[in-house]
């Protein structure tokens, strides 16, 4: 498992082993940090709020069936947990190496920058997955309380949420590599995911009336869609009277599962690779 190094008494480990080392210590840093604690509180707050609201008001949308429960609870909230976790743990994972000068401690060692990048990505993924795990446990706990069974679609939805986390983290690492300022990379990623993508989705569907297949949050809709039975097709509705007496036609687009996975996968592949290239080329000035 080692690359022979004739010029040192130590054998420099393989890049995979070095990725493991970086992951381990970056994760340790995350788990002990204030940010992890804050994210934990946010996840707990969302979970408690949903538990109390559903328990007190017993809304039909939640309690109509097993599937509608998971769709309403999980389908509407989990993307928020995913995006927030990715921003918290990935937003400045790379830019912090420059701004906080931690890169000066790790980079001048016999380790490829790509190993540092991948190691930090894995640490951010695990830390975010812990948050997702907590939210999943609360969701399932409530689901079992009301319906005493878990639909298999929830398992699929959980995997899609994990995949969405992968894609969003690819994106956050891209912006983290693009900027040297931690606050800038966090801010841009947060604005994009919390506002811009949602707004674009709405505008494109309403005004341009085309399927927004190029938006990551459109692809992520499969997390909620899979919890609907049957799986929803694109739906065109004609409502009221619009401009010059013409009826207004609105189409609600639903990405199919392969489409959703492809969109998220392509987003991840492009942003992760470009982010890595940026980090490889970026200089510690």
């Amino acid at each position: 498992m080692t690359e022979t190094n004739f010029e040192s008494k130590n054998s420099v480990p393989t890049s995979i082993a070095q990725v493991g080392t970086i992951t381990k210590y970056a994760l340790l840093d995350y788990l002990r940090g204030r940010r992890f604690f804050i994210m934990l509180i946010i996840t707990a707050l969302i979970s408690v709020l949903l538990t109390v609201l559903v328990g007190y008001y017993r809304p039909d949308a939640f309690l109509l069936s097993n599937l509608t429960f998971y769709n309403s609870w999980w389908g509407t909230s989990v993307t928020f947990v995913v995006v927030l976790s990715a921003i918290f743990f990935g937003g400045d994972a790379i830019s912090g190496e420059f701004q906080n000068k931690t890169g000066y401690f790790g980079v001048p060692n016999p380790i490829r920058r790509s190993s540092i990048y991948v190691g930090k990505w894995l640490a951010a993924f695990i830390a975010s997955a812990v948050m997702l795990g907590i939210f999943t446990v609360v969701t399932v706990g409530n689901g079992l309380y009301y319906f005493s069974s878990i639909p298999y679609q929830f398992g699929e939805s959980f995997l899609f949420a994990l995949f969405y986390l992968v894609a969003v983290l690819g994106f956050t690492f891209f912006f983290s590599s693009l900027f040297k300022s931690s606050s800038m990379s966090i801010l841009v990623t947060a604005i994009l995911f919390l506002f811009v993508f949602t707004l674009l989705n709405e505008l494109i569907v309403l005004l341009v009336k085309i399927e927004p297949w190029f938006l990551i949050n459109y692809g992520a809709n499969i997390i909620g869609s899979v919890l609907m039975s049957p799986y929803p097709p694109h739906e065109t509705t004609t409502t009221g009277v619009g401009f010059r007496g013409q009826p207004t036609t609105t189409t609600t687009f639903y990405a199919s599962i392969p489409e959703g996975l492809a969109i998220m996968g392509i987003y991840f592949a492009i942003t992760a690779v470009v982010g890595l290239i940026l980090f490889e080329r970026k200089e510690f000035n």
Binding site: T2, N5, Y25, Y30, G33, N100, F105, V107, I111, F284
Partner: protein, 318 residues
């Protein structure tokens, strides 16, 4: 893959440009063998930029940075396998303890698992941070972090050390301890390439000196050659006295001490002594003067041969 028993670092036409600004200009410098080389130059001369190009922190615009004949840019892992570097003042992940941060570096560098604990404890002891080994780094002062970073450089017993102003941020005791560490590494047959603003530090610790200005190498030679070529060959100390001193003692006794070239009174209570030699001569001279019981209350270097050479060389390029 090139291989040599002799540690070496080499800059081949190494350049770094930022748009129209040239930070390092076609630097050619080969340092070979176990020795300590001081890297001197004014602010902005290109010292740190050069060291960063040797450690993958920045990329050369042209030319090559070679360590043991291996290009740092194209084969970083192999090139830096036997190198430890301390560039600027690195920060450590704040939630980690020195033990954890150093374990991370030890694992990355391939220190055998069975030796990691022992080596970390030895390295931390050497920088006098053993009491803090299990405290989180986030609360450490700049000097404490610098000590941990020095410990990280010692962990893997590297054959080559690249140090960028290693005493920067340390208190006087810390500075002295770091110099002692560097001296001990030099005695262990390591190649040490160390930038510094402190000429006394370089003349105390190093065998050779490379001077750079405006990104260009001005001179690279042994300290004795540089000083003999470019200075008057004198070190000067100023001595403060608590009471007026007899001129005869100055002219006849002090001027006759071994190594002393000239001794003169600046005023009734201070002397200026020029001498040949390094810190050992300076130390002996102090002992001899104190023994005269003339009321010595201060003793400081006014200038050194290296300083004289530095000023001559650097001024000449302005």
């Amino acid at each position: 893959m090139p291989f040599s028993d002799v540690p070496s670092i080499e800059a081949v036409k190494l350049s770094k440009r930022y748009n129209s600004f040239v930070a390092v200009s076609e630097l050619n410098l080969k340092i070979e063998g176990a020795k300590c080389v001081g890297f001197l130059g004014p602010n902005g001369a290109g010292k740190t930029t050069t060291l960063k190009m040797f450690t993958d922190l920045i990329r050369a615009s042209s030319g090559e940075a070679l360590i043991n004949g291996i290009n740092v840019h194209t084969n970083k892992k192999a090139a830096l396998a036997s190198v430890a570097a301390l560039i600027e003042t690195p920060e450590i992940y704040p939630s980690l303890t020195p033990r954890e941060a150093l374990t991370m570096i030890a694992e990355v560098r391939g220190v055998p698992a069975t030796e990691i604990k022992k080596r970390i404890e030895e390295a931390v002891l050497e920088v006098h941070m053993n009491e803090w080994i299990d405290k989180r780094v986030g609360k450490f002062s700049k000097g404490m972090k610098q000590r941990i970073c020095i410990a990280s450089a010692l962990l893997s017993d590297p054959r080559i050390l690249l140090l960028d102003e290693p005493t920067n941020g340390l208190d006087p005791r810390g500075m002295s301890e770091v110099r002692d560490i560097v001296k001990s590494l030099r005695s262990k047959k390591r190649l040490i390439f160390m930038s510094s603003h402190l000429l006394s530090e370089v003349s105390d610790v190093c065998d050779e000196v490379a001077m750079i200005d405006h990104g260009k190498l001005i001179v690279y030679d042994t300290i004795s050659n540089v000083t003999s070529k470019f200075s008057g060959g004198n070190n000067v100390v100023e001595v403060g006295l608590v009471r007026p001193v007899d001129s005869k003692i100055v002219v006849k006794t002090i001027a006759a001490f071994p190594g002393v070239i000239n001794a003169e009174k600046i005023d009734d209570k201070s002397l200026k002594i020029s001498f040949n030699g390094g810190l050992d001569v300076q130390e002996r001279l102090l002992n001899d003067i104190v023994k005269l019981n003339i009321g010595v209350i201060s003793y400081k270097a006014a200038s050194s041969e290296l300083e004289e050479a530095y000023l001559k060389l650097i001024t000449a390029t302005l």
